[in-house]
Symmetry: C4
Subunit: 197 residues, 4 copies
Amino acid sequence: MSKSRVEAFSDGVIAIAITLLVLDIPVPERAGPHGLAHDLGHNWPHFVAYAVSFLTIGVIWINHHAALRRLIVVDHGVLALNLLLLLFIGLLPFSTALMANFLRRHSGAHLAAAIYAGSFLAMSITFFAMQRYVLSRPGILDPTIDEASRRVIARRNAVGLIPYAVATAAAALSPYVTLAICGAIALYYALPQTTAT
Amino acid sequence: MSKSRVEAFSDGVIAIAITLLVLDIPVPERAGPHGLAHDLGHNWPHFVAYAVSFLTIGVIWINHHAALRRLIVVDHGVLALNLLLLLFIGLLPFSTALMANFLRRHSGAHLAAAIYAGSFLAMSITFFAMQRYVLSRPGILDPTIDEASRRVIARRNAVGLIPYAVATAAAALSPYVTLAICGAIALYYALPQTTAT
Amino acid sequence: MSKSRVEAFSDGVIAIAITLLVLDIPVPERAGPHGLAHDLGHNWPHFVAYAVSFLTIGVIWINHHAALRRLIVVDHGVLALNLLLLLFIGLLPFSTALMANFLRRHSGAHLAAAIYAGSFLAMSITFFAMQRYVLSRPGILDPTIDEASRRVIARRNAVGLIPYAVATAAAALSPYVTLAICGAIALYYALPQTTAT
Amino acid sequence: MSKSRVEAFSDGVIAIAITLLVLDIPVPERAGPHGLAHDLGHNWPHFVAYAVSFLTIGVIWINHHAALRRLIVVDHGVLALNLLLLLFIGLLPFSTALMANFLRRHSGAHLAAAIYAGSFLAMSITFFAMQRYVLSRPGILDPTIDEASRRVIARRNAVGLIPYAVATAAAALSPYVTLAICGAIALYYALPQTTAT
């Protein structure tokens, strides 16, 4: 399997998942008694969840390419881990809609938030596993990447899991905190000078 | 990040957003008392909004490529602004459906039209910001583009914001005027000899 | 605008439109009193319309590439006509769902069939216009294509409009005849040795 | 038709079909009397069917590329068989939703399971037919692939049909057995060292 085909297919799945997010934003059929502005304002969790998930998937896409760029060949292990990663990315329109639907409900908000951050965590763990797999196989990794760089990459990926683990745990306290952490993570990585792209 | 991957991913998101627009056109389940022709005619705002948004996204795609063609490298700033641009393009199936649903309603039509043109304005402002970012960084821009050309590009992008600002403001008067202006902008740019592609 | 980017974007829109067709096939929530087999059998127009539209879009994709392959540059006229072509292709999930919903209804079936075949006709006319535009501009067309080949291409495209015009007109008689003609056209072009790909 | 365009278009359709699967997972609007956890747990067939179909389509994508890599040219026969293959892949979001909806129902479960495994079987048979077509035409196949390799490929593809035929037949006994077999097939091929990629 050539690297460029894996990139093209992964790009496709990621681009589709990111664009399907918009289908989760409800389009009012007609204005309620308080007017359309009120109705749309009431739907703010959908807009916030859209933005947070969009940026998060965008950041994953950037990292995904940085990861693939370091490979010289793609073996079946990379393909299998990449497919699992895409499976979790493909679930994000579901977990985003769930988060937006339940954020303000009395029942289900904590679980929905845990699933939302948990789906980002699952995605990050799979990405971390793919990175570890690649870094430990000399025949796959670009040989110009030295031991020190490999350690930096591995550490950065491991550290990247912590905020999502915190966000998932924070769902027990408040779904708003979970959403805020996920948003902060997305902004932190999306803003310039924070990733080594 | 290689330029070709940014192009491929952006192409993907834009192609998906433009094709998802069709999901906003309601498909009648059965004909009403006045017949199917009447029902479809009644849905004309959906067909008009589909065409206007389709052409607008198509024009943005053309401009997006012209912009990327001028780059020699893609830095994180370009990536971040491009992601924001895609976020607004990704919202267009929502704002298009909103516009089509509310165009003829007593309540909400002005706001829906403002959001519709406003989403095009947000997209154009982000595109303008990306262009300004690129034009001000010598290491990113193709060095064969001289100072005069840079000024022309910057001015053309700034001027391009005005019609969408007018269309957004016109929503206070009439949503039909907003839709007509957006349609006229799309046609103007889509017709031959008006863009320097 | 490079030819390969126009191809990639067009491929994207066509691939998405062809894959969105599946969303028009209703998935029963639970079996009715006559059983699931009966319910699915009752939905046969959706399966037939899916197959006919899928093959038709597939054939248009094949022809689209043959057309682009003959170009040496892409000017704004080609871009504009191509965007119009994609706009009609993007509508096919709507017209396919309309056809499937109304095929057996007392009211609306003739109109739905006319819209179905008419959307294929609109697509073919736009494709024909794009071909004519290209064939009449020496600077765009591959110069190794001689006058005789150009005439063959132009004639084949003009002839290709006739079956869709007949299918659209036949909707006045019977929507079943329209669907059968559209299916026969798709099969004729999809089967080997009938197109000069 | 160049090989790379067939690959790009097929990649697009496969990537979209795999990503549309998420739309079949129901997103609860509000929690029922037993809570959101119970509601989501109740929907487990949707999650299992999502995972099984996602991995299956991923494996087909891997095999599809291995098959195209062996070609030196793409003739109309390959194009037509490939289009038929994509038609069946495009149906999988439908058959997956059907399977998930009916798995636990008294009425329709056996038929839904037969359709689910049957759609994989139809996909595999078309893939097998495309392989046979290619292997029997010297001008299409890479000439460095010798007679022995061709026999191995043909046998492996024929053998690959058996599990799906068994899974389809098993629907008469139990839809759970069908789902389990399909899941086992997907896992077997997705795990490393089982395909000659």
